[in-house]
Amino acid sequence: MSFSFFDVALICLIYLSILFAIALATERGIIPSKVASHPVVYILSLGIFASALSYYGVIELAENFGYGALAYYMGTGMLFLFAPVALKPLMELARRFQITSMADLLTFRYHSHEVGGLVTLCMLLAVMPLLSLQIQAVADTILLLTNQNHDLERGVDSFDTRDMLALVYCAVIGCFALVFGANREHHKGLITAMAFESVVKLFGMLAVGGFSVYAIFGGMGGLDQWLADHQTNLEYLYEPLKHTESHTLLLVFLSTAVAMPHIFHMAVVENPLRHSTYTVTWAFPLFLLLMALPIFPILWAGLSFGSTIPSEYFSLAVPLLAENTTFTVISFVAGLSAATGAIVSISLAISTMVMNQWILPASSLSAKREVYGQIVLIRRVLVIAVIALAYLFYSGLENRFSLSQLGLISFIAALQLLPGILCVTYWARANRQGLLTGLAIGMGIWAAGLLLPIYIGEHVIELGFAGLSLKLGISHWSDIALWATSLNVSAFIIVSLLSKQSNEERYSAELCSEDELSHPVRMVLDIRDPDEMVERLGERIGRNTARIEVDRALAQLSMNPNERRPYALRRLRDEIEANLSGLLGISLATEIMDTLIPLRVPEAEGATDINLIEDRLNHYREHFSGLAAELDSLRLYHRRTLEQLPMAGLSVGKDREVLMWNNSMQQLSGIASEQVTGSRLDDVLEPWGPLLASFVDLDVDHTHKEQVEIADSQRWLNLHKASIPSSLEHQIDGQVILLEDVTELQMLEDELLHSERLASVGRLAAGVAHEIGNPVTGIDSLAQILKYETDDPEIIETADQILSQTKRVSRIVHSLVSFSHAGRNRGSEYEACNLRECVQEGMNLIALQKEKAQMLFVNEVPEYVQVLGDSQRLIQVFVNLLGNARDACEEGTKVSVIVEQVAKEVSFAVTDEGPGIAPEIQDRILEPFFTTKDPGEGTGLGLAMVYSIIEDHNGQLELISPVDKVLQRGTKFVIKLPNALASAETLSNTSS
């Protein structure tokens, strides 16, 4: 059975068309986003790991290494099994800093463009054999299908056609990568297509496995029987496990999952779902298990045919030799799928790395043209270039290497990057000198031992001492891998320990190593606001692009465009750098940011970024256990204690940056903690900024009664501060400030002073009254004598006037005496008074003054209401209040007294319908001698006396004016006095 070239081309075309259609359908939304974003799709897309090597080459590995071949899957499986520990830190880093490739990750961590450049070179060299492997697999399987003899010997005629088909295949794959992989956003279409490919190859592998067991051996029983007949096959499974090569194989394959650029890209960068980190721990190893399950049945089925076809193509050869067209096509498509997925993802990943590490840093983008368009164009050219380079490499190989040999060459190169990647999160001391040295040594050995011999052939170079020799070539891959890796690691560690990190590198290392007990330094940013960032960035990436990127970062951080806090601006800078990294690569992004918006190391030592530490601790607290968790609980307890402190408090760093702003401080200032934390103290809103900044600079630790105006009202504050000692000797880390609100105390003091003043006025009044009373009495007596001793009407008239004036003086004097006596508390003499009777008495007395306006007095006080007090003085209260009401209102209007509430206290109100009391004088009407009446009409002591009497009765007086808010009329005095009945009840309860 054989296929024509036309048949094969048609199969390829149909398959690739389906792939295009699926990607396009996802991009256009025809495949619902729910499906495209499902964790299963993501996990299946990771299946790009299983390239043509795992579909074809792994059978050869099984033949050579027995169960050792499973290391290919187990290494990767183990890495994903421990994904929450092994991969999650990298995923978090990639997400936080928009890291798009492994070269970017290493550039970011080691803060070096050289690292990025060298890693890209290493990766480019490493992936060439892997890409060639895919092309070779497709070309060879096409040849197998089309060759009548099913052999891979190159005929003169078939050579061109096969390679031409491979070339066309590469071109189509390149187009696919161009369309779906070059844009900036998450490539949903690409991921769905990759997931589909994984389904196809998994189905193909299981189908061929099932075909081998049931069609070739007639079921599991038949297979067991065949194995029993061919015991050597079964025994050989275990034999290679005892050799070193199997262990090296495990080491090599362990590194592929994280070090190979395309797998890193899918596993770390494209990971769209946080929770899939957990799902992937079992789902991906299950996928690998299913992929690995058919390996041995296929191997044995292939061996049972005794064909000359190399074992690496047994997946296709078994159905082909059994002449089953359906399974042959299924197998071919699955192999094609495996190769396609790998080529697309590798070329995209490597082109991104080349662009970010080589092209963009070397060439300046035009700031006048749209940056995004320029980047897509560069990436597209690079994708084509990478695939073309891979094709040239493949042509140079001339089919002299098996798939597994090419895979090993590639993976051993990738292994050299593993130490550098591991140290990203696990060893903050590792530095770029160490990485560069180790990598150069490891890659040098790899190039000399494995890459060069591809072209110059295998060599053994005798060293001439101790019988040592250098063995070069793929046959010695295990030794070369071990030497390269161990020397690489040793050099890395030794050089890292012997050399120093730069400040920037240390900062990056601290950002990467979540577990490190480090003190991130609060860097100084020489920038005032986001607009200045736009201005500066515009110089390199164009003003429009800069504006888009700054706005994007502001939106991502939910920040205000007018943000000025240094802490916030540092976060904004980091976010912009992360976004630019996603766009331009970390190398160029870092260079742009370092040049245009540089961070400076603070001059003051020990400026630890407390906010960053807290952020990080909050983020990772679920990972803490044991002592770390207890320490974190302790930290939270102390933080909450400070936050809930019932006194306003804040702490500032040595550089005057606000580090903490507690809840009471928020209430007092009305400024939320989020708004102010990270600000420089001088930038905090008035009056707090200037007040606190000047206090921080003072030599004294306490100031008292600082007057502050808050929301149009005056407040008085006592300020206290203390220095926070640093862990460094004789240094301080900042200051903690407490603000004590003493406004109420100040008000009480003022009130006391006022009362004292009133009391002295009262005493003065009593003295004056006494002194004036005596002569007035004399004048009054003399005037009466004068009146009775003369008949002269003029003199009588004069005497009457004198008497009238002296009565007036006596009345005033009497009022003064009453007012001064009001200060004496006679609570012990109070008895139950009938309130209604007191009111009525007051009304009757007022009504006697016929010369004044007559009012409609309404007494609505119930008969039963009794208050504790002096009835005569209470009558005085009503006389004063009702008299004032009468003087203020028009004749005939209503003045009522009603009881509002009877409880422990009796609350009653005297209400009139007069013009009300103007708001500006309401505060003063209780002051002695304050009156609105005409001179001679009032003494200004009436309401003051009312207030005094009510105070003496332990009551309260409240003024409401106007009563009618609509007409702005009426005045209401609400008086509360102790209820006589309630007091009697309390007394009886106490005595019993």
Partner: protein, 58 residues
């Protein structure tokens, strides 16, 4: 980080590995024995992740 359980697993593996390898490398057994262990690990991982997700959601 949770290193203690990892160390415990490694210790258990170290203790039981001779017996496990002896069982695995016995040529009298079925050829798919390694896959059974693999499947067992996958099932354990499934239950571990389920409990982790539940804990995370709490």
């Amino acid at each position: 980080m949770r290193q203690s359980p990892l160390l415990l697993i490694l210790l258990l593996l170290f203790i039981f590995s001779p017996r496990l390898l002896g069982w695995l490398l016995s040529t009298t057994g079925a050829w798919y024995r390694p896959y059974i262990i693999w499947l067992a690990i996958v099932i354990i991982a499934y239950f571990v992740q389920r409990s982790l997700v539940k804990k995370h959601e709490l």
